[in-house]
């Protein structure tokens, strides 16, 4: 009893058990969706292997001295940036993006996965320097630069999904750091205008009007107001040019999100089939290995980004909800640990990790239920993929580590 208590005190089961459940659901989904696919045979075994590896890694990270992360922050960032640059040169091209570094028999590795953690560490590290003032223009710019540099490299691959994750945690980190409403407005408004401009000229104009209206609320002088408006307009036009810069399949996916039924056999196909799979699952699902959408391969590569459809179809509303609840427990846990630690660096790192998971979850499940465009991004712990699983478990290890040593910092 005493041992149990001690163990529970150190290893956070609220964090660990839901993760194991997610892993199991993921393995079941991968098994089911690859059963009838000759090209994906062995994916289940691979995932099982990486699951084992990542759990070991989790405990390794869990046991490290907590200071390690602080020291490792900048080297990790630099190393991951080098990898990101390397992948642009020697990376393997799959479905239009150069995102993979080939690592012999283990298959590929996606540096972008690693770069997320590296960037979170680096940003947290910079933001917790004693000299940094989040309200100063210079520090905001440097913080953003640390965060956006890898985004630029990732957009060159191009991989839009991952760059959204970066936007997410950059925002959350400066928010958690304590940026003022006006500062947040300054950072956010160009992005808001940029996204609106993709929907067409009227959305663009409306967004600029809203931004201008908010300026009146902040009562800033004419010079600042004018430059903010100019920056926003610039962002809008920049977004349009970025849109044309995107690969055609990504452009199509954005367009098909705006109107998915326009081309049901083309880019909107996955979105429609995913919804059909989930919707037809009903409350209890069609049963393990009994989902016809899944078993008949209606959704290409379902074991990766569309894994949630397998669960939705075969395990129904109940299974889908269990996944969501597991995530919600993990998220609450991370936020709780992050806010209870006195160390700002660790707090920021945990918030960054939370955001990485959260954006992944929102975009991934959002696209399978049709409230987000189809953006290729895996569901943490569930989707097939070695590098993603390993990094996610590694990050969870950091969270568990902070929990383990929380008393040293409170």
């Amino acid at each position: 009893m005493r041992v149990d208590y001690k163990l529970n005190d150190k290893l956070d089961f609220w964090l660990f058990i839901p993760t194991l459940i997610l892993l199991c659901f993921g393995l079941a989904g991968i098994y089911s969706s690859t059963l009838n696919n000759h090209f994906a045979h062995g994916n289940f075994q691979k995932q099982l292997f990486f699951g084992g590896v990542s759990i070991v890694l989790f405990f390794v990270i869990y046991s490290l001295p907590t200071n390690t992360f602080k020291y490792a922050a900048i080297p990790t960032y630099i190393f991951s940036m080098l990898l990101l640059m390397a992948v642009l040169v020697v990376g393997k091209k799959t479905s239009g993006a150069r995102a993979w570094l080939v690592l012999g028999p283990l298959g590929g590795f996606q540096p972008a996965e690693f770069a997320k953690l590296g960037t979170v560490l680096a940003m947290a590290s910079y933001l917790t320097k004693t000299s940094v003032d989040i309200e100063s223009f210079k520090d905001i710019v440097i913080t953003l630069a640390i965060g956006l540099f890898p985004v630029g490299l990732i957009l060159l691959q191009p991989d839009m999904g991952t760059s959204f994750v970066f936007f997410g945690f950059i925002l959350v980190l400066i928010f958690w750091k304590g940026i003022s409403l006006f500062g947040l407005y300054l950072v956010l408004s160009p992005g808001f205008v940029a996204v609106a401009s993709l929907f067409g000229i009227y959305y663009f104009i409306a967004a600029v009007v809203i931004v201008a209206a908010a300026l009146i609320y902040f009562k800033k002088n004419i010079f600042i107001s004018g430059s903010i408006i100019a920056a926003n307009l610039g962002a809008g036009f920049f977004a349009d040019s970025v849109f044309t810069f995107l690969s055609p399949h990504q452009q199509k996916r954005i367009e098909s999100f705006i109107n998915p039924s326009a081309d049901p056999l083309g880019a909107g196909y996955n979105a429609i089939q995913a919804k059909v799979a989930i919707g037809s699952g009903g409350f209890l699902g069609k049963g393990f290995l009994a989902g016809n959408q899944t078993q008949l391969q209606y959704i290409p590569e379902q074991w990766t980004d569309f894994i949630y459809c397998v669960i939705g179809e075969e395990f129904g509303f109940l299974g889908s909800l269990i996944i969501l609840i597991c995530f919600i427990i993990i998220f609450m846990r991370i936020i709780k640990i992050a806010s209870s630690t006195r160390d700002e660096f660790l707090s920021l790192v945990l918030l960054g990790i939370f955001t990485i998971y959260f954006v992944h979850l929102f975009i991934n499940i959002g696209m399978t239920v049709g409230i987000m465009p189809v953006i290729g991004i895996p569901l943490p712990f569930v989707s097939y993929g070695g590098s993603s699983l390993v990094i996610n478990m590694l990050m969870l290890g950091i969270v568990a580590n902070v929990h383990r040593t929380r008393k040293n910092y409170t």
């Binding site: 003032d133 958690w176 059909v276 037809s280 209606y298 959704i299 939705g312 806010s339 239920v369």
Partner: protein, 637 residues
């Protein structure tokens, strides 16, 4: 500010809210999809993965009355193009290899644009083995081009039957729009003739095999192990009342002419032969019909697709005299012994001519000699409207209701009509020619055959029909269809009188003695209808044997001349084919028995003939004798 706002409780609350909003959104969306809209997604999911594969059943075949197969199904290879994968650059090559006219493929593809692109379109049926070999060899090059085995109609008996059988064709988009519940694009449907009338019986019921398909539409297995499959039901095999031999004779005799032949069993209303000339080759319709052939058919001034037996209308000439005789006798305006004198013409407002001065005649002899003067007068005794009413009772001015949709009603004038055309004081002299079947009377050959059947069977018969019923697939027995019985309610004695006249037309001193036969007694009536556009139309109606009619017929040869010369010989050949069938061998044995029914003189004559010809019955000798006889009689109308 810095230290106080880092990870402040407010900011924590904002993050928690964000998490719960997103979870709420996702959970609500899941609830909406998986609980509320579950059924609509289920339907989509099922239709996604279950593909019904149509099983087209064999179309019913046609047997003749003796069990000979007239129309059947033969396997054939069909060239198809699936537009989704097809490259139009191949058009020229394919058109060359498959003997298609240039532009044929693009035309067909254009026509089928309204259908889904993944649906294969039939280009040509009945491609040969060389062409199949070519397809196989160039398989890789010919994306979207393939072939399938399908059944097509075959006509093994040698009977043409173009107008009667009709043809099947790929259903047109217009027709498909109306009958979407059963047919699909590319289905064949009966377009004309019996194929059209009996479409529902012939087609059977399509079956469906449900198979599971993956996203690439590859079949991966049966749906629920085939328990939901629907087995196709074979089309019904129809037994026609047609006698293949009689039909062949009719078609043969009409070759190179324009006209129609209809032969019936007067007791049952069954059609024994129905031919129209010129005709066309149904085999051409078994394939995807070549445009050249279709154009040829449409442009042909002789209109080969027009069924003259049921759709051409003409004044029936002297064949109509029987009707006036029946009406007059039935009404009692004349008796069999009433004498009318013919002086070669009759004056009523103007002079009406006869062929010769027949002198005093009763009705029997008036029919025998086809005296015009007798019948000019008769119609005035009957009265126009009464006459029109008798016409109607014998089926004129209305469709007979035969099982062919291609039929017209014809026309019989009455007082109302003349008043409308010429006013209240219409010249009564117009009526005179109606008595001899001239003027504004128009009838179809089928109506004439029906009318003749009524005469032959003393006023009773059935609605004319070509199909007797269908053959039960298990018992192989005929399941007859029901047909309406007709009775004109005229006493037999009236018919006896006119039939005697018709007997004499062939066997007395009448107008068709050239076709007299000792073996079978034919009774008939010739007719020649004046044609303002050219030579007269030749008519002959009649029945045989005289004392127990088994076949009644009407023959029309357009622009031929005298009915006796052109139409009557066809009748004789049909009677021989039908009633003397197989007698080439049995004749000698059968002769004495048959002879009992015949008078001694004929018996003797036949015996002499048989001696001459040895043991076998020889047509040529009979014809030679008849030719001689023919010359002995003055030809009359």
């Amino acid at each position: 500010m810095k230290s106080s706002s880092f990870g402040s409780p407010e900011r924590k609350t904002i993050l928690y809210s964000l998490v719960f909003i997103v979870f709420g959104l996702l959970a609500f969306r899941l609830f909406q999809m998986q609980i509320i809209e579950k059924e609509s997604y289920e339907i989509k999911s099922e239709s996604n993965s279950i593909k019904p594969i149509e099983q087209i059943p064999l179309r019913g075949v046609f047997y003749d009355r003796n069990g000979e197969i007239l129309v059947n199904n033969i396997p054939a290879y069909t060239l198809r193009i699936t537009p989704e994968f097809y490259d139009r650059k191949l058009n020229n090559t394919i058109e060359k290899v498959f003997d298609l006219t240039p532009g044929f493929i693009s035309d067909i593809l254009q026509l089928n644009k309204i259908y889904p692109k993944a649906q294969p379109i039939r280009i040509k049926r009945g491609i040969d083995f060389n062409q199949i070999a070519w397809l196989e060899e160039n398989h890789d090059r010919l994306k979207g081009v393939d072939y399938v085995v399908e059944m097509q109609r075959g006509y093994p008996s040698g009977v043409m039957g173009a107008h009667m059988f009709g043809y099947t064709k790929e259903i047109s988009p217009q027709l498909l729009e109306k009958q979407k519940d059963y047919y699909q694009m590319g289905d064949y449907i009966g377009y004309t003739g019996l194929e059209r009338t009996y479409e529902k019986d012939l087609r059977g019921e399509k079956g469906f095999n449900y198979v599971l398909v993956d996203a690439k539409r590859n079949e991966v297995g049966k749906f629920k192990d085939g328990t939901q499959d629907k087995v196709s039901i074979k089309g019904k095999d129809l037994e026609l009342s047609i006698d293949a031999e009689v039909q062949k004779v009719a078609e043969q005799e009409l070759k190179g002419k324009r006209g129609a032949v209809v032969a019936m069993d007067p007791k049952t209303g069954e059609i024994l032969a129905l031919a129209s000339a010129p005709d066309y080759d149904l085999n051409q319709f078994s394939y995807v019909t070549s445009r050249a052939y279709m154009n040829q058919l449409y442009k042909d001034p002789e209109k080969p697709q027009f069924n003259r037996a049921t759709m051409s209308v003409k004044p029936p000439g002297s064949t109509f005299k029987i009707l006036a005789a029946i009406a007059a006798l039935d009404m009692g305006v004349i008796t069999p012994s009433t004498i009318i004198s013919c002086g070669g013409s009759w004056f009523f407002g103007r002079s009406f001519k006869c062929h010769t001065a027949h002198g005093p005649l009763n009705v029997v002899h008036a029919i025998e000699h086809s005296c015009n003067v007798f019948f000019y007068q008769l119609i005035y005794r009957i009265g126009l409207d009464k006459w029109a009413e008798y016409c109607k009772r014998f089926g004129f001015s209305q469709k007979t209701g035969i099982d062919l949709r291609e039929e017209v009603a014809g026309f019989i004038p009455n007082t109302k009509y003349y008043e409308k055309m010429y006013g209240k004081d219409w010249p009564r002299s117009i009526m005179a020619s109606l008595g001899i079947g001239q003027g504004e009377v128009s009838v179809t050959p089928l109506q004439l055959a029906y009318y003749t059947s009524l005469i032959a069977n003393n006023g009773r018969t059935f609605t004319p029909h070509i199909v007797k019923g269908y053959r039960d697939d298990f018992t192989k027995k005929l399941v007859p269809y029901k047909f309406k019985e007709v009775d004109v309610n005229i006493p037999k004695k009236v018919f006896d009188v006119v039939k005697e006249g018709m007997f004499l037309v062939v066997n007395g001193g009448g107008t068709a003695t050239s076709i007299r036969m000792n073996e079978v007694k034919i009774a008939g009536k010739t007719g020649t209808a004046q044609n303002p556009h050219g030579k007269d139309h030749a008519f002959f109606i009649g029945f045989a044997p005289y004392d127990d009619p088994k076949i009644a017929f009407a023959i029309v040869v357009e622009n031929a001349g005298f009915g006796a010369t052109w139409a009557a010989p066809i009748a004789k050949k049909m009677v021989q084919a039908y009633l003397l069938k197989g007698q080439k061998n049995v004749n000698t044995d059968a002769a004495p028995e048959k002879g009992d029914r015949e008078d001694a003189g004929h018996q003797q004559a036949r015996n002499t003939k048989n001696k001459k010809a040895g043991n076998s019955f020889n047509d040529k000798n009979v014809f030679a004798v008849l030719e001689e006889n023919k010359l002995k009689y003055a030809r009359r109308l």
